[in-house]
Amino acid sequence: MLDPVTPAPARARRRGAGVAAVLVVAALAALSVFVGVADVSPAALFAGGPDSDAALLLFASRIPRTLAVLLAGAAMAIAGLIMQMIVRNRFVEPGTAGTGESAALGILAVTLLAPGMPLVGKMAVAAVFALAGTALFLAILRRVPSRQIMLVPLVGIMLGGIIGAVTTFLAYRFDLLQTLGTWMTGDFSGVMRGRYEFLWIAAAMVVVAWIAADRFSVAGLGEEFTTNLGLNYGRVVATGLVIIAVITSAVIVTAGMIPFLGLVVPNIVSLVRGDNVRRSLPWVALLGAGFILVCDLIGRLVRFPYEIPLGVVVRTVGAALFLWLLLRRGSRAH
């Protein structure tokens, strides 16, 4: 994108940083493809040819899994960014606004009422539930003085807790607690060809977000301001909510909830690059993908050959970063 304001050297520097970041993520992805119990080293691939076990494994399991991790990471980070714009608060994301819990309740409802439903249907129901839950969160926020920065994520977490309590209770009654655990904890170990394709829908949502980025920036300035610029505020917010709900439910149906990613990544990008959404959006997507890839590699290598679910690693690292952001912010801002 050409912008006449930034001087040429700075533009070149920024482009250089972007290329470097893409290369780092690509290298991580390549590494992720070759990590695992079975031998899928380039040497084995070269020796075995296109019909070997190694090649089969590569195309049926390793590459889909790595792609799924990349897409999920980028999409969740973007979902967090959009939610932060809409709510006008730095400390919200789909995991702290009832979105994820609502989606899980939706999947549970489908599992209990229509067990035979195909995965597409499950995802659609989850998305509808996620949309309803997030809309409820926004409705509650309208009545909360939004000046109090820390109160907004609190309300979201509590709402998520209430929805989660209902879900947990139902799961407990119908002996689905362990199944529920798999939705609420992201885990890519079972992702194979045919099981990750939903994430392309999430990727499409990222593209939509990019196209509409400036509108979200404007919406972030408030309803009156948006209306004065001739934008339909309600429509912008609704678009954002749909993007968030679809991304969240696609990720949950494929692998389970990945918490804190959408909260931490946009904050770090904003610390480094400022708050121009259109410019920071590719960075958020890239850093989200890279962050989750690193966590995935940690989870796969730390207790090799066993795996720690990705969601747990992300949650642990994310919680630490979240605490850092909170206390850092808490020592300055009001």
Binding site: F169, R315, A319
Partner: protein, 351 residues
């Protein structure tokens, strides 16, 4: 000014001087906090009586033994949660944040999970409950004290109370999430049979308290309450705000640290006995503020404890007679508490 109600009211009271005077006197009496506490106490006695002596299936002695334990467990929990929540809310100068919302339940579950993970489910069944309990107490109290000292330490207090409360609550919740995720990871490495044993520890249960543990927690909570008694008037001063309290000669930091210690001990004791109860304290404390008709802790604290007992014993009665124990009491309390929390936030926003 005549409203539609005026004629009806006049008709109802026409020529009834004596009852009206009585009613006025009763109203004056009802305004006194101790009268309200006595009434709550009477309700508790009635409910406990109903619970102990109705629908006895077999031998009365046996039923009394089992039910007596349940009532005692409820007493421990009501006293610990009620008192600790009110004290906590006074110190932190808010009515929404409670210790139960701060990750204690998650820590408890984590400890239980670690035990099952390391020693197998036999350990939970065979471990000496007293030892288990002391370990749990120490870990939980230690965590709470660290968190309180860290966040309410002098360096971070400068930003004003409101912000640090929200901050602290968020930090507490994030800690809770962290513990929960760790537990989940361990649970997924445990086979389903062992997981089923662990499930019992996830939902607060008053029906099967461990007798030894019951005596233990009773003593601990009684000691903590005894330690609170001389601090009641200090709590009244603390409720006026930090600056005022210091101006009136309260050694704020020392007193607040001591009070936080007592809160941590009480919450840990209750959680160790019956498992996680997140929102119970929120319900009881807010009911007590509304009904006490007094801001003094000598009135609010006992009322909170009694109201806690009313909720627990009454709830158990309703469950057993209406729902035939189709569900656990704690789940209903959690749900109601969550709704109350949102209501409080909404009402605050509306004002």
């Amino acid at each position: 000014m005549r409203t539609d109600l005026a004629p009806a009211r006049a008709g109802a009271l026409a020529g009834e001087r004596m009852p009206r005077r009585l009613a006025a006197r009763a109203g004056a009496l009802w305004r006194h906090p101790w009268a309200r506490i006595a009434l709550a106490g009477a309700i508790v006695v009635v409910l406990v009586g109903l619970y102990l002596f109705t629908d006895v299936p077999g031998s009365l002695d046996y039923a009394l033994k089992i039910r007596g334990r349940t009532v005692l467990a409820m007493l421990v929990v009501a006293a610990a949660i009620g008192a600790s929540t009110v004290v906590f809310q006074t110190i932190t100068d808010n009515r929404i944040l409670t210790p139960g919302i701060m990750g204690f339940d998650a820590l408890y579950i984590l400890i239980q999970t670690v035990v099952v993970f390391v020693f197998g489910s036999m350990a939970l069944a065979t471990a000496d409950p007293a030892t288990m309990w002391i370990v749990e107490m120490a870990v939980m109290t230690g965590f709470a004290m660290l968190l309180f000292r860290w966040l309410f330490g002098g360096r971070r207090r400068a930003g004003g109370a409101v912000r640090s409360i929200h901050l602290m609550l968020l930090v507490g919740i994030v800690f809770g999430v962290f513990f929960r995720s760790l537990s989940q990871w361990l649970q997924r490495m445990i086979d389903p049979a062992e997981f089923a044993v662990l499930q019992d520890a996830f939902f607060a249960s008053f029906s099967r308290p461990d007798p030894q543990l019951l005596v233990f927690t009773l003593v601990i909570v009684a000691l903590a309450l005894a330690a609170l008694v001389p601090l009641l008037h200090v709590l009244d001063v603390l409720a006026l705000g930090e600056a005022t309290a210091i101006g009136l000669g309260v050694r704020h930091r020392a007193v607040v640290t001591a009070l936080f210690g007592l809160v941590a001990v009480m919450v840990a004791a209750s959680t160790a006995l019956v498992g996680p109860i997140m929102f119970f304290g929120l319900i009881v404390a807010n009911l007590a503020y509304g009904l006490a008709g007094s801001f003094r802790h000598r009135h609010v604290l006992p009322l909170a404890i009694l109201l806690g007992l009313v909720c627990l014993v009454g709830g158990q009665l309703v469950l057993e007679h209406l729902f035939a124990l189709q569900t656990t009491l704690s789940v209903i309390i959690e749900f109601a508490g969550g709704i109350l929390f949102l209501f409080l936030v909404l009402r605050k926003g509306a004002r």
